[in-house]
Every structure is written in structure tokens, then in C-alpha cells.
Amino acid sequence: MATSLMRKTLGATCLGLSMACASPAVWAVGDLLETPARPTELAPQSLLNDVAVAGDRIVAAGERGHIIYSDDEGQSWTQAEVPVSVTLTGVDFGTENHGWAVGHSGAVLHSSDSGATWELQLDGIRAAELAIASQEEAIADMEERIEQAPEEQVEDLEWALDDLFFRLENMQADLDIGPVNPFLDVWFENDSHGFVVGAYGMIYRTTDGGASWQDWSQKLDNPQGFHLNAISQIAGGALFIVGEAGQIHVSIDGGETWERRESPYPGSLFGVIGTGRVNEALAFGLRGTLMYSADLGKSWSVVSTGSTATLNDGAAEGDRIILVGNGGAVLTSGNGGDTFREYLRDDREGVMGVVPVSDTNLLLVGEGGVKHADPQGKNLQ
């Protein structure tokens, strides 16, 4: 696995940088997908993009392949063994033991020991090959449809075929460069079934714990290949994906089929969470945008947050809702999201994830690593 990956990666990179690879240069600095994360004491103070809970354990992932975990609510951290050094963007646990982390270069990592050690399950080359294969299949299907279609539909279908070809060309150009595109989020239902989503409309599904992956992008109405920024499940079991340009996709059959929802907001959404009540969801993104839906996303109402900060992540516990974002923004609501109060943290550093801990305190992760905060988001001494 590792050797074949190296060959592929280098081969692909050399196509992109033909000058550079003309001579048999040795990469003593290895490819990021083959360079294990360096053990470092700096990991808890470096950029962390996501945080997840595995039983009593808190696990956070971030730049340079850093995955750290804590069994004491973030007082002390241990760095996990990770076989890659790419920037990681998402982490999620399907069970207490089984977790997945995703990131740049199309990396999907799996842990079966609650986050202590990780192995690479999927990389950007294989992901792109899967997507290209399914794109070619879609093109073949489309060509078949055009042959059988009534005259008046042919022109529209040919436009659609052009779109498919255009995207295929982009995919192939990207693959020529190498594993260029990042995954941006991950969700797992249990130890076998889950999704990873990412840039340019990437979405893959596994039902065997990551042993095999299926390209799922054809199941989403995203012809322009906008980024899919976040995926989560809300109370009642529905799955939500939000992304670039106000995209919202919802599945009520465990991810088999997806429906595109209209968004009242055209800008990017970076996160979606359930409120804890059945079928209720909050989606949020650029410029303090927050939207609430009580009907599986069919209709949304915009909630005024009074904030202009990009919101990245959130957490809900009963009537208490916490949203975190760039510029040190921490928004808290004690009334189920009717009103929020904004606190801008002194360091003004971006916050990418939040986990409520005991005494209604908060554990924040982001630009400057791990921070312990009071219920409003202010640093604890």
C-alpha cells in the first residue's frame, strides 16, 4: 500500500512539475502522505481544525497531521501516532473506539483504539480515481439517455453532458498534479457506515468501516462541484450537508438519497448542527449568518446573531447553544437560539471547534490550539 502510493504520488507530481522531476531527485523531505506526523510538544498550541468526543475522551485534529487526545477534559494531551503530515480538517467517532479523521491530500485516517493510533484508509489519488470512474460512468449513462431521449430534450441533455465532461477534465487535470484536494469533514454512524465530504463537491461513502469507498457525488445535486464544508446528523436521524454558495443537502434515509434544499442565504455555510430536538437544525457560515429550520431544512428562518464573524462550529445542550467562529467569536444562547450574545476573545484567534465540558465550561480548538474557556468563551485562568 505504502509503496504503491509513493509511486503513484511521485508519478503524478512529476507530471505536474515535469521540470523538477527530470532528474531523479530524492525527496528526503517526503511526501506529506508518507511522512508520519512529527511528535511535538507544540501540537496542543498549533492550529486544530476540529474536535470530537469518543466516550470520555476528547480528540482534536489539525495542521501537520496532528491528532491529540485527552482523557481529562483537555487538562493534558497525548499526541496520537499518525502516518501522515497533511493538514487535518475533520474528525468524528462512530463508536467509542472507532474514529475517522480527514484532511488535505484526500487523506482519510482510521483509528480503532479511540484515537491513539491511526492508519491511512484513503488518499487523494485513489479518491480521484474513484470519482473519475464514476464520472465516466455518468457520462456513459448520459450518452445513453441522449440516444433514447425525445428530440426536444436532447439539447438540454447535451448541455448536461458538456458539464459532465468539463468536470471530468478538471478531475483529470487535478489528478495529474497529485492528491490536490482536501476533505473538509467526516461523519460516521457506527463502526462501518460513514461519509467524508470535501472540496469541489467530493463525497465518498463506506459501509465496511473504510475498507472500500464509493464515490457518492452523483447522488447530490451539485453540478458545479461547490465545496461541501460540513456533514452532521440531527436528532431524528436526518443527515445534513452544507457547503459553498448556500448549499444544503439533506438525507432522511441514512445517506442513500439526498435532496437539495433552498437556502435563504447565498454565501458559504461552514457548519450545521442539530438543536437536540427532532428534525431541528441550525446552519451557519460567513458573516455571522445563522439559520434555523424545524422541518428538516425545507424552510429556514434567519436568526440575528449580531455578529459579523464567520461561524465555524457549534454545540447544543438543551436550550444552550454555543457557536464559535473567526476573530475569536464565541456566541452563546440560553434560550434555544432565540437570542445570542457575542463575546470576542482577547486573542482574536479563529475558533474552529467547541466541546462543552463540566461546569458549563467550554473547550475550544482553533488557530492557537486548545483553549479552556468559561461558559461565555472567556479564557479560564
Binding site: 512529527r38 510538544e41 460567513l286 474552529m352 482553533g366
Partner: protein, 794 residues
Amino acid sequence: MSNPTHDKGEHYLTTPKAEPFLERLIFNNRAIILVLLTILTLFLGYNAVKIQPDASFERMIPLEHPYIVNMLEHRDDLENLGNFVRIAVESKDGDIFSQEYMETLKQITDEVFYLSGVDRSGLKSLWTSNVRWVEVTEQGFQGGTVIPDDYDGSRESLEQLRQNVLRSNEVGRLISDNFKSTIVYAPLYETDPETGEPLDYGTFSRQLEEKIREKYEAQNPNIEIHIVGFAKKVGDLIEGIGSIAWFAGITIVLTTLLLFWYSRSVSGTLVPVFTSIIAVFWQLGTLRLLGYGLDPYSVLVPFLVFAIGISHGVQIVNAMAVEAAKGFDAVTAARLAFRALYIPGMLALISDAFGFLTLFFIEIDVIRDLAVAAGIGVAFVIITNLVLHVLIMSYIGISKGGIRHVQNHGEKQDRKWRLLSNFSHPGVAPISLLIAVIGLGLGLYYKQDLKVGDLDQGAPELRKDSRYNKDNAYIIDNYSTSADVMVVMVKTPVEQCTQYSVLRAMDALQWELANTPGVQSTASLADVSKIVTKALNEGNWNWYAISRNQTIINASIRNAPSGLINTDCSLTPLLVFLEDHKAETLQTAVEVVEEFAQENSNEEHTFLLAAGNAGVEAATNEVISKAKDMMLIFVYGVVSLLCFLTFRSIRAVLCIVVPLGLTSVLCEAIMAVSGIGIKVATLPVIALGVGIGVDYGIYIYSKLEKYLLEGKTLQDAYFETLRSTGKAVVFTGVTLGIGVVTWIFSPIKFQADMGFLLFFMFLWNMIGAIWLLPALARFLLRPERMLEKAREAK
């Protein structure tokens, strides 16, 4: 002794018994020689006056070290990376968000804009249009200048300003963390693009003081101004050299007074001072003819030359007074003094000169210049002291008062010398040796902490409490920035400096360095690419990475600071900010880079050390560590050899050299204890200390040997030695000490360090010669054997 015309006593194993040839040559042509020397003095004096100060940065660094070779080779590509001044305007009461503060800041910004030498396009302050805040919106970016367009000093516009500042990403860079000061950042031109003139650091620095600091601190009493930057530092150094003139004056006055107190003779005072000053003129004139200028190191050499001239002149005055007291006329007294002193005098001076020449082992131009300057100076002292001085004295003679002084004090002095002669007593000598061994042990113990390099924070050239270093400390405390920067130059084929492989490798090295103790932070094009890639993706931190897609990389560095990419994109710097510039900090960082460079330098990218002030210091430290032992071996080797050639006895050599060794060890221990590192300035001290320090031993031993060969016992011989030369030796130590002690007050730190250490070495070597030499002689010398050998020689 009673027959002055036939002096049997003056025989060395190497010298002919008759009147030496040199003595005849000099004393038979007194007038001609004086005329010739006068002409020479006029010529060299004319040149000496015209010598120019010369504070060239290049001469202070080890030009042959590979780091420096790399740095100079790529100097044009790195230009302007380091040459800027930062002017922090601090609000003493309240924060920066007040109308008065902003008004003053605006005026200062305008004033700096018009200073000649400032690269106006790069000028940055809250009031310049290139300082902006940026926000991501649905449509892309939105932004504006930090000062609101409709700024009118009202509460509302100040509040708007506060908002913009928070959004601007400049907190910690242009605005202090506590919002009590902001920086006016002014990049400088090395050469003025309009006139083509190189930047005059002295003038520029003075303008900063007069037009910025003094003017605006007076205008608005609530602000305080802090200025740092290479140009300011060099300006302050140039100012510092100026104060040397005061030291020269003070030294001459002190020495003259001391000399008069010692000789009680006007001629015995003025003639040595006069001839020593002439030696200084000769030295400076010759330097100018050789094309040298005066830098902060070589400006100290005239002090040494003067002090050495005086200290040897004292021997002559002393000898003449003693002879004149016996009733000889001026010419005869001068002749006898010459005969008695030309061998030890020449030997002492030649060993001084050789001591200096060992400095040539340090591959740093200022030190080599120092060696040349000092070598030339001492060579001239041989002539001014042993020829000019003696000849002038042969005309003038010692005044009656001076002779009386020698006679009157004979009895009283004798008691003192008698007491001191006990150092050679069989009972006292072992105690002395024991003390010496304990001293040596303590010295060796403390000297373990001796460090290479500069140890204090801030600009090492200036004092810790200097205005510059206080300003520097203020900026370090209040801004996220370090003053100690090492630059790794990453070289690539033309147009390849932004390739993914290059950025990836730089990023890998940066992370290794970030994990290295002593490294505060790093910066390179890789960081720019990551930050801008993130910004271009709607400010989402998930995108904080170097893209493998070259198109994205190119977009991300389109607006990178020009200093990070050279004109043909074949070189990009990697900046390493260090916590301090201690030698270990530098060494650790350098080792990480060296190891990385070895594994990862290939056709795509070569990692070259090192530019930046810390890079230069790392190279300097390496040169110094290597030169240190070589220099010690050679200076002791040369001194020992010269002593052996003169006295033809290893025992004699040990008697003279062992006290010097003890002083050297103690000097290093003192350096360790007082936090002075081995550096460009202090390494020469050891060579100078040994080279000059040996004089005392030579004068004492030559007399001691003479009296032993006359058949006296050791203690008697030592008593006679002290009687005839002890006073001169003590006086020599004091004059030399005074010659350098004024440097301690120099605003330039390394001059102060040199002054302190040389003062210690000169005095301790004198004490060592008087106290330890006789004790060693008690154990090492065998007077019977010496007499026997002398008889055989006859």
C-alpha cells in the same frame, strides 16, 4: 659598579662584552639621527592627522567563513530585508486611541516620510494607506485603511479606528499588544536612488534624534519615542567612537601627573609623554599610508601604543636617574641606561609585537587590522623609546629634583623592597606557590562557564542600559518580534523559487526549527502561501496548507513582500527568529539547519546558511572558537621561544611564563563570572595581555639573573632587582592600566569589556611578576649552575 666607564656587570650570555655596536651607532650620530627622526615625524604626523574613521560592517565579520561567503554572494537578493528602522511612539498615559496621540503620530509619519534615506513606498504606520483591514464577505474581500476615511478625531471615529485596528491583523506588529504604542516602520535605501550616495548612518541617526525624538517628545509630553534598527545602531556606534577623543585626553593627563609624581622631574615627565605621542603619530600616519581607517577596534590601539611607550620610557628615566644620581653627566647616564635596557627593552617590545601578530589567526578583518596597527605601533615604540627618547634625554638630562627624588627615597624604599624580597624566601615561596595553585584551581573551576559569543539581550555592541538597548527591550516586550534573526537562503533554479517542492521543503525545515529550543518563530514564503490560500478560501482555517496546485500557490504569493522573492525568483529567504543570541542558541539552530541542508539540498533547492545578524554571529562564534586555542598556543609559544632565545634556559622561561598563564586563567574565570563571552573584542585581550604582560617578567628576570651572576644569593639578588627596577615595573603596570581603564566608560560595550579585561591583565601580570616569579625562581633556578655556565661561556 664604582667604575662607570668600564661596566663589567652588563653581560648576557649572548651579548658581546664591549660597548654594543648599536650604542656606538646611535650615540656617535646623535644630531643626524634626531634630524632624520624629526623629518619622519613631520611626514607621518601630517598623515596621522588626516586619518578617517571607518566603521565598515564587512570588516567586522569573518569574510572567509562559508556562511558569510554565502551571505555576501546573495547580498543583492537579500537587500532591504534587514535594513529598516522601527519608531515606536508610546502613549505614556492612556492608550493610542486619543485625538492628541493620533495627531502626533500623523506628524511623525509625515516627518519620517521626508527623511532622506527612507524608502517612502514601504513606509508603514497607522496613517499610511498601505495599512489596511480586510474582511471576507459573500462577494469576496472588503476592506479599507485602518484610519477611517471620515476620521475627524471624534469619539465615534476613534471607536471606528479601534474596530479597524482589531480587524487589521497588525496587532503585535504595528500596534503593540497593550494598545499603548504603535510603530512607524521605515525601510531604508542602502544607496539613495536619486543621488546614488550611500546612506550616511551617522547623519541619518542624528536626524532621527533631532527631528523625531527630541522634537516630538518636546511637543507632546505624553509620548515617548523608541527607535531601533540597524541604521540607528550603527549611528550610535559612530557617536560612540567620538567619545574616544575624551578618553585619550584624560589618559594623557592622568599619565603625565602620575609620571611626574613618579619622577619628580619635568624632563623625565614630558619627554616620555612626548616621545610616546610621537609613536602614536607614526603609527596612525603609517596606517593611513597603508590605506587603513580607524574602526571601533583599531581606535584603541593608540592607547596601547601610548601606554607601552610610557611604560618603557619609565625604565629609561628610572635607569638614567639612578646613573645620574651616581654623578654621571647626561650623555653618559643616557648611554648607561641604553646599555642596560636595550636587550630587555627590545625583547619585551618584540614579544609584544609578536603577541599582537598572533591575532592574525582570527579570520576577521578588524582583528587583523588591530594586529597590524598594534604591531606597527610597538615596532615604532622600539625606535621612539630606545633611540629618540634616549637621545633627547642625553641632551636634556634628568633634573636635579628628579635625582634628589631617587636619592632621598633610597632608605625608605629599601625597607619596602627588603620586605617584598621575602617573596623569594625559602619559607614564603612555598606559600606563594600554594596560593597560586589554589588560584589556578579556582580559575579553572569558574572558567568552565566561559561562553563563546555575546550573552546579553539586545545589540551586543552597545551597553545594556544604552538608549538603544532600552528601546529594543521596549519593543521586544510589547510587540511579537525578535531582534535576533538568522536567515537561511533557499536557492533554486531561475523562476523556480515558488515551486511546491521548495515551499514544502521550507515548511518542513521551519517545523524542525519551531521544535528546536531557542527558536521563537520562523517565517518564509510557505507561511505567506498558507495564510493567503486560507484567505482566498473565505478565511476558512481548514484551507491553511500549501496547495499542491502550482496555480493556487502562484495566486497565493502574488502579493508576497518583495523581500521574500528575488528578481529572477532563484532565491527565497527563510527567517528564523531566535530568543537570544547566546552561542548555544545559535549553535543549536545552526545544527538543525546544517543537518537538514545536507539531506535536502538538491537540484531543486539548496539550503544555504546564513544571513541576518544571528547568522553573522553564528559564523563569528565558529571562527572564534576555532581561533581561540590556536591563538593561545601561538602567543605562549612565541613568548616562550623569545624568552628562551634570550635567557637560554627553560627554567627562566618557566619563571616568566607561568605567572602569565595564571593570569590568563584568572582572566577567563573573571569573564565567565561577569558574563563576558569570548568574542571578537575579548579574544584579542588574551593575546595583548600575554604579549604585553611578559614585559614585567623580562625586566625583572634580566636584573635578577644579572645579580645572581654577580654571585649574590637569590633573596639578595631579588632585593637588588626590586631596588633597581621594581619601582619602574610597578609603575609600568599602573601606566598600562591607566591607558586602558578609561575605556570602561565607553558607550560601546565591547570597548568597555576590553578595557576592563586588559586593566585586569596588566595589573595582575605585574603582581604575578613581582610576587610569583621570585617564588618560582626559588624552586627552579640553580644559581651555582648558572655561575658555572657563565664562566664556561667566558
